[in-house]
Amino acid sequence: MTDPIARADQLRASLPAGFRDQVVESLYEEAHRIAGRSVKTGENRRIDFDQRIDRLVTSPIFGLPLMLVLITGVFWLTIIGSNYPSQMLATSFFWLEDKLVAWSAAAGAPAWLTGFVWNGVYRGLAWVVAVMLPPMAIFFPMFTILEDLGYLPRVGYNMDWLFRKAGAHGKQSLTMAMGFGCNAAGVISTRIIDSPRERLIAILTNNFVPCNGRFPTLIMLATIFVAAQFPPAVASVAAAGSVVGVVLLGVLFTLVVSAVLSRTVLRGEASAFTLELPPYRRPSILRILYTSLIDRTIFVLGRAMLTAAPAGAVIWILGNIDWQGASLARHAANFLQPLGHAIGLDGVILLAYVIAIPANEIVVPTMLMVYLGTGMMSDVTGYDDIRRILVEENGWSLLTAVNLMLFSLLHNPCATTILTMWRETRSTRWTFIGALMPLAIAFAVTFTVATVVRLLL
């Protein structure tokens, strides 16, 4: 019996070249012919208007710059808008902490209990809310407006050629955009990519876009350190610019790592896909408020608080149990110090990252609590105070800030994301790679930067 496959291969060779394209072409022609006969399009300004916007937004020349301007604007508004509310929140929370401590002492509670509950758990929560709530309450509504307008698919369209060059799927830019919200959500969203190879690439590299758990860290560092290097008039723009720079660096790492993966362990061609650009819609205010404030802000904040409470307790215990003349937190920080110093950070920062594995959101609060808990106790009410503590009391330099931004961008994903990776791939091996590869890259990059800077200075 003749094999139909072999015979088909033979026959294909005898058919005219371009027969396959002809097939698709005739299909499109037929659809065009039928639609031409049965569809009458009246004069319509709205469609023309949409098309004109699309021509600009997805233009090969203006598309990408416009995108950069948009995200810079979003970050800039977030930065200038969140400083003052953060200060106010911190002032009131810590005023309340003092009162609460005084009250529970007056009520006869033992000192360890007062310390554990109010200086530990409560302070952890207060830090998280004060540092995170204002930037999120500003950033999320703006991001959701862009999403609701239908801008994200256009971003996908603009970035497609870059991903194709990296041997990855164009839709990866959409999963990347989801990652800005939450890397775990970004990993789940890779389901829109059909090819298992390209999907795995998207999962492994999603971590290189900073999620909103990490944005507050980046924004705070940019505000405190980068902005301080510039005259006040342009300080906030410079801070926004540096956050955009970090994001672009993240995209660069995404592309480079994707390219390396698709040329080594995950070899293959990028597959074609259809991307529909939906019509622009007028964003619905109520839905935007609901999505950005309830679904995103409250969700992220809630998750941060859930991990911050036990983290605050752990830090308090570590900071208040002395062993051989120093607190446990000091011992741990001292142990991590050589490694931290080598990559331009310090032991406390690394300790904060270890404690913050469940959720990246609490890195800065954890760090501050370790610094404060082990050093002198002082009231911290705003970015100026944070700056004073970090720079004057703990010897931070611009290198520390820059490397912390890099480390924050590149390091291992949080526990939730790692768990999601496992759920989506069902592979221990790829989950390990997904968790450890970014960590290795983070160490390599920060070590290189620290070494180069130290050699030059």
Partner: protein
């Protein structure tokens, strides 16, 4: 034109059935591009009681529901939204396999009235696989708002299958849609799907390979379509033929009664 559903004589017969499926219910597949309101059609027809799971072995969601019309039970299977049946994406493969081997009694292709040309590509590809098709031209309200007019008669005539205008969100036209589906299954409406011919040399090649495929996998439906895809270099069809997967799928389809039993057992495995 106004519709008063309560006085409409057949209305009493259309009832959402959820997942309560009786014996001998008819199988209807729901295909369509993404963003055409396919889910709205599905929800409006089946109500809130649906069976939602995954397609066997896939991460793609599969929704099923039922409805009754004029005393007849219908089971509606929501296929993944796809732009074509040609490339090898998971979604397209699922839709394609279901149309080929699930052998629905009728397939509804939901289209977007405001972007009909693009949507027709999928319609034409579905017509190549099955003749029992009803085209649902949805989002008619948006089309009207945008000043787009669709001549449904001309569309039906060109495609050779009925086309029904609907606004799934407000349930406008859904009754006509269901009645048309019933009539296509009954044979009251005869369909003559548009299948553009190929140049003679391609036709000859398709015929020859189709015969070989039928010899290899006896009882295979749509051998011509498979032959055509094989000539086109479709790697999935090739693989399915090589690995015997195709033979398994054909064996699994069996008689209509067995076919439904298989579908149910597939559900059970999810």
């Amino acid at each position: 034109m106004t519709h008063n559903c309560d006085t409409c004589p057949a209305h009493a017969h259309l009832a959402q059935m959820g997942i309560r499926l009786g014996e001998g219910s008819r199988l209807v597949a729901l295909a369509g591009n993404p963003n055409t309101g396919k889910s709205s059609v599905f929800n409006a027809l089946t109500g809130l009681k649906q069976h939602v799971g995954n397609w066997p072995g896939k991460t793609v969601t599969r929704a099923e529901g039922g409805f009754a019309f004029q005393g007849q039970h219908y089971k509606l299977v929501d296929l993944p939204g796809t732009y074509s049946l040609l490339s090898a994406s998971q979604d397209e493969e699922i839709s394609r396999n279901f149309l080929l081997f699930g052998r629905p009694d009728c397939t509804i292709v939901v289209t977007d009235a405001t972007a009909l040309e693009r949507n027709l590509n999928l319609v034409l590809q579905v017509l190549e696989i099955t003749a029992k098709v009803v085209v649902c031209v949805n989002l008619m309200d948006e089309a009207r708002r945008k000043g787009i007019e669709v001549d449904l008669r001309s569309l039906s005539r060109d495609l050779g299958v009925p086309a029904v205008p609907t606004v799934a969100r407000t349930k406008e036209g859904l009754h006509d849609l269901v009645r048309t589906v019933a009539e296509v299954i009954d044979g009251t409406i005869a369909t003559k799907p548009l299948r553009p011919g190929h140049p003679p040399d391609v036709e000859a090649a398709v015929g020859e390979v189709a015969t070989l495929i039928e010899q290899r996998v006896p009882g295979i439906p749509n051998a011509r379509w498979m032959a055509y895809r094989l000539l086109d270099g479709d790697s999935r069809i090739r693989q399915a033929l090589e690995s015997g997967e195709l033979a398994d799928l054909v064996a699994a389809q069996g008689t209509p009664a067995e076919r439904r039993a298989t579908l149910v057992s597939l559900q059970g495995r999810q």
